[in-house]
Point group: C2
Chain length 340, copies 2
């Protein structure tokens, strides 16, 4: 088939429909908004003309009158991320069947970018807003959002309650679960490897609670954190090399996330070291389990799809003024794999 889209046409208007159906523009307008008495026969003629001309009733403009919209604005750190892709999928699974669409903004953990993205999205009159915790929201964002009438929900962080509702795990609990696991397994030379902690409050919270739990048990940890590396496998490799060069006695490492832990594992295998015999490895988020061939990573799994699903449900409840409580806390699950 060759393109038949070469010549662009102007959009069909209500005037075109009116002319085609042989009625007045007012009649078409009243038929579309459902106001006024219009005979079934006339309605059918208008419908047929709309069908034939390809006219689509603009629900955004139509809905402005009623102060409602079918658009839900969602801001996540990045669309190119296993965790947020799965969460988003859960959000859509609930909102889509109810006629809502999600418009996605990316913050890249930059408060200024988040503010700009949300400000632009507000101009589209969203029915609701879903934000992601971790990022250090600008104070001006709170001012901006307080003046809005739509419900605002935060995903991922339920330790800090700033909005109408919050869905996600306790990030603090993650650090405690990993610390308890390593204590139980009697590892004594423990390290933490991470990146970008200054811009991601959730990752920092996990790290802080990991460190203080171990400190309570009399264990002080080594840390290898780089503020400028992305939270990717390659960074896990680089930081593991750096850590072991200066602290070769380390025998257990907790990584910011699973991708970084996989990078660490790959470095260990390249160097002829094995996990957990030489160094135990523990990740976080459970996003890469399904890609493992031989080595199942020990990690704390967080129910990503469920977080999205519950966020969608709670937003719908808020839209119907049915919201109760302030947060829904997702259950965390330690998966003991082959690496600890």
């Amino acid at each position: 088939m060759t393109s038949s889209f070469g010549t662009r046409k102007r959009n069909t208007t209500q005037a075109d429909v009116a002319k085609h159906a042989g009625v007045s523009i007012m009649t078409v307008s009243r038929a579309l908004s459902g106001s006024g008495n219009i005979s079934p026969d006339t309605k059918e003629r208008i419908n047929n003309s709309m069908e034939e001309l390809g006219y689509v009733y603009n629900t955004v403009a139509g809905s402005l009158r009623n102060q409602s919209s079918s658009m839900v604005a969602v801001v996540i750190p990045s669309v190119n991320d296993l965790v947020f892709g799965e969460i988003l999928s859960g959000v859509n699974s609930v909102l889509r069947p109810k006629g809502y669409f999600t418009t996605i903004g990316e913050s890249f953990f930059d408060p200024e970018e988040e503010f700009k993205v949300i400000k632009s999205m507000l101009a589209m009159q969203p029915a609701g807003i879903i934000l992601t915790g971790g990022i250090h929201h600008k104070p001006e964002l709170f001012d901006l959002l307080k003046k809005r009438s739509c419900p605002i929900l935060q995903m991922w962080d339920t330790d800090n309650l700033n909005f109408d509702y919050h869905v996600g795990p306790s990030q603090r609990e993650v650090g405690q679960i990993v610390a308890d696991h390593l204590i139980e397994k009697k590892y004594e030379y423990i390290a933490y490897i991470g990146a970008e902690l200054s811009i991601d409050g959730c990752a920092d919270q996990r790290f802080q609670s990991f460190r203080s739990r171990l400190s309570e048990a009399g264990i002080s940890i080594e840390t290898e954190v780089d503020e400028n590396l992305p939270r990717q496998p390659e960074s896990g490799k680089i930081l593991t090399e750096r850590l072991l060069a200066r602290s070769p006695h380390v025998n257990a490492i907790h990584y910011l996330n699973d991708p970084m832990a996989l990078g660490g594992l790959s470095y260990l295998f390249d160097k002829g070291l094995s996990a957990p015999k030489d160094v135990a490895v523990v990740g976080f988020n459970g996003s890469t389990q399904k890609f493992s061939i031989r080595t199942r990573l020990t990690t704390v799994d967080v129910p990503k799809y469920e977080i999205g699903k519950v966020s969608g449900e709670k937003l719908l409840a808020l839209l119907n003024d049915e919201g109760e409580g302030q947060f829904y806390r997702s259950e965390l699950r330690l998966i003991v794999g082959d690496t600890s």
Copy 2:
């Protein structure tokens, strides 16, 4: 911090701004649309009032008059997919700095769902539409889109040219590259493992060209295709088991995608078989390379981020009536890993 979003307020209107600034509603309206003469002093007062009241000018409604919008509708099979997450990230990297937002619809390879999603999105008056190839678009979709004035671009498939522009690899070429690689490596008992080929024309095209290229070389292949399994690692495991149970002599398998190939590899290792000694394994798309610890999968890498980036650029060109040609073909790259 406790929630200060408990009490919802109605949105600020132009009337509120007018009252606050001590001017008429008409003056506010003219200031916002840029029509009419308004003194700098009055403009500043209106701006200050807007700032203070948190009023955001509705660009969607505002732009309807000019038949343009800041929204680009994107339909992909699923947001929970490594390939389309990366593509989307490329699209956003271009559109976002130009003030455009992407609204994401998911088709799940269901033509009816795609049609419904696009119809709803059209009601939001998108500036442009980005579709994904592979899915068997309904004939009614072409009718619907032909009546629209906005540019329509298709990603992922450049073998079938149905819209204003097309960006992606030749899916046919993928099958040929893999076939040539296996011929060169002198594998003789070759199989293909896939799923959902009836609903994904791109995957089917790769499969068909893989089979016919081998057939030209005098090699007939075994196939293990399930129409009801998802294209996930677990399905790769199940289908590899099924295939080898009936055809234990197979010594090379090409999988629909990398995740399925990883599932296959994991099955082989569980059974004490190794790749490529016992069975060679080749995937497609290069989405899981970064998660490999020990075993680097042989695959055909497709430049996902670039496809998104070029799609964004070409859509902008179409919006500026600068579009030329019908398609941009992405380069494919065979990565010979440890499994062939």
